[in-house]
């Protein structure tokens, strides 16, 4: 069965290798792995999807925790969560055949983000089955798919309001979102965000 883990790890060289090496050692194939920044500087968030026996979850989580750079592991399992994936799909389409692709994209609430004389690029966000659905109908409609780039699944559990990173780092006195926000607002990263919004 598919397992999904969210791991908060130190943002240091070699950490990805350590995590990947652990799965290699356990002879477990990683289906997808996404890595990016978390709400805290110096901490990355990984979403790892892998195919393993139903009872393997405990051991994988326990082994991940044995890595010194891993701060927190969440075995999502059946817990209530939101899962999303982003895909870019390049389809061969001429000015004559474009409108058909536009229609399909519309149905899937996907966006056209690039248009060229012989091709166009679709951006779609959603659960895996939605993305696979669009790919399927494009194929069935006879549209030639030139390229697909998918991010792999990323997930977040519903309804938990504390910062997981701060929990994991056991930073005393900073536990709620409100406090976390006020700290972030005064930092350089929010200045960057504003600069981006104002186009500077």
């Amino acid at each position: 069965m598919l397992h999904t883990f969210v791991a908060l790890v130190e943002d240091k060289p070699g950490v990805l290798t350590r995590v990947a090496s652990l799965f290699r050692r356990l002879n477990i194939n990683i289906v997808s792995l996404t890595v990016g920044h978390s709400e805290r500087t110096g901490v990355s968030r990984m979403t790892i999807v892998c195919e393993a026996s139903p009872t393997a979850g405990h051991r994988i989580a326990a082994s991940l925790y044995k890595l010194e750079n891993v701060l927190q592991v969440d075995d999502i399992g059946q817990l209530s969560h939101v899962a999303r994936e982003l895909a870019l799909i390049k389809v061969a389409a001429t000015p004559q055949t474009r409108s058909q692709v536009f229609e399909l994209a519309e149905v899937f609430r996907a966006r056209i983000v690039d248009l060229a004389p012989e091709s166009l690029m679709i951006e779609i966000t959603g659960v895996e089955s939605k993305i696979e659905g669009l790919i399927q109908v494009l194929n069935e409609a006879g549209d030639r798919i030139l390229e697909i780039s998918r991010t792999g699944r990323m997930v977040m559990r519903r309804g938990q309001h504390t910062s997981k990173v701060l929990d994991a780092m056991r930073v005393p006195g900073v536990e709620t979102v409100a406090e976390f926000k006020s700290e972030e607002e005064s930092s350089a990263s929010s200045d960057l965000l504003m600069a981006e919004e104002t186009g500077l």
């Binding site: 070699g14 290798t17 405990h58 044995k66 701060l71 927190q72």
Partner: protein, 590 residues
Amino acid sequence: MSTGKHAKAPTSSGTGTRLTGAEIMWATLEGEGVDVVFGYPGGAILPAYDALRKFPIRHVLVRHEQGAAHAADGYARASGKVGVAIATSGPGATNLVTGIATAMLDSVPMVCITGQVSSKVLGTDAFQEVDITGITLPVTKHNYVVTRAEDVAPMIREAFLVARSGRPGPVLVDITKDAQQGSAEFDFAAAAPRPHRPHPMLKTESASILQAAELIRNAKKPVILAGHGIIQSNAYAEVLTLAERMRIPVASTLLGLGAFPASHPLSLGMMGMHGEAWVNHAIQQSDLLIACGMRFDDRVTGSLATYAPNARKIHIEVDPAEINKNVKVDVALIGDLKEALEALLPHLAPKPAKHESAWLKEIDASKGEVAVRDIRNLPDSGHLYAAHVIHDLWRATDGKAIVVTDVGQHQMWEAQYYKHDTPRTLITSGGLGTMGFALPAAIGAKIACPEKEVWVVAGDGGFQMTAAELSTAAQEELDLNIAVVNNGYLGMVRQWQEFFYEKNYESSPLRSPDFVKLAEAHGIRGLAVRKRSEVLPAVKEAREHKGPFVINFLVEKEDSVYPMIPAGSALHEMIRRPNQNPLVETAEDK
């Protein structure tokens, strides 16, 4: 202790002195309580060696870096402290790998420091450059690359913390040459790592404790499985109390030998592939297994499908990743063994003193028949069996020596015939099964415990793998006794070939040099023994001799270790000792 967060900020340290990275390395080791290291110099670690003379640390020069890793390992196992091995970059570092993996599989706390090419040329295939952190990633608990002098102290301190915390293990610190040559402020206290994060899945809540106590109270046929964790966690007293209070027999893993006194009436001995029949029968018949700091290795369980079919299982273990890995358990107490037992014991009322356990009687009854088959009980037929050698060694040393074994038949005979009553007296490579381990590990053990008698028990095959370390023992003038159990074969390979490959002795016969002459070439006393009557006098001579001493025991060539459970078979499906002769007690055995 000040917080580690500011360790890198030079302004935070008022008391710091400016030192080179090399000096910081030794000063940090000294601060961590290190007084001896095992190593081998080379280009990329030379700045560190140049600075060594300023520090009160003994350096033991080995003859091969694998020896340094095993010596640090033996030092750690004998003393309970963190062992330290040092090597240069490239081949020096790769030579450590077998020793590191050995320590990893047996959870031995060890810090290895390797030199590395300068940070400016990292990744360019510079002379003697190798990606040692990449290579050792799966066989270390953690490893570090240090490229700046100011990082040396915090990284080494963290390495020590990681090596000894939780389930111990080896940690490697790779220090570039420019980090050794550069300088930085040194403040030992300020370089303290942040407190180690306990594994978040530890779980010894009271509900599980009560559940475990309930199972123990109600068990009719309980067995304690004693593992290495008892030694690591210093939980001898608690295990002894548990066994005595509830009248539970104790079976040991190979690495658990010594954790529970072998001479205790409740001690069964070693379990598993070469365990005595009654031990494995007891496990198979048991209705409750209490696993203490052991990991249900395949050499211990045999076929998992048939393992202890009627037993409930309590697993007390510090590493959450071991729970339900091989054997599904009913109650798991995940945490430090000593603490878990301390929490458990108050819930167990002692069994009445006059309590007569049918279970213990049943086990006892199954022992009698085995004595008939025991080789020690055969008359002296002029043949010298390895079992005789180990048995006599045990008698001569009163069971009090530290015995460091290699891997193979002699290792199993040692485990069967040398009765260890105290912990840290059997040092052996269990998990990885590393031939060549014994001699260098014994050098480490002797240096850790100079007042103790230390014996190497090695086969002729494994001894030759690291025999160059005889030179180290001679140079360090160690009072080390070395027993080579010489049968002219890679004995365990030959035994498997006999049992499972139709006696096709392919590449297992082995010609060896004259070990007595080899010893003499090193300036070491040597002696050959061919008869049983010569064993005790030779052992006596070795014990009285100051300095290293080699005894070449020329034993029966095609002897096998019994009983034996073929790999993957059920625990009760064993190959028994051949019942060759009637029971005759020799005068010596009285």
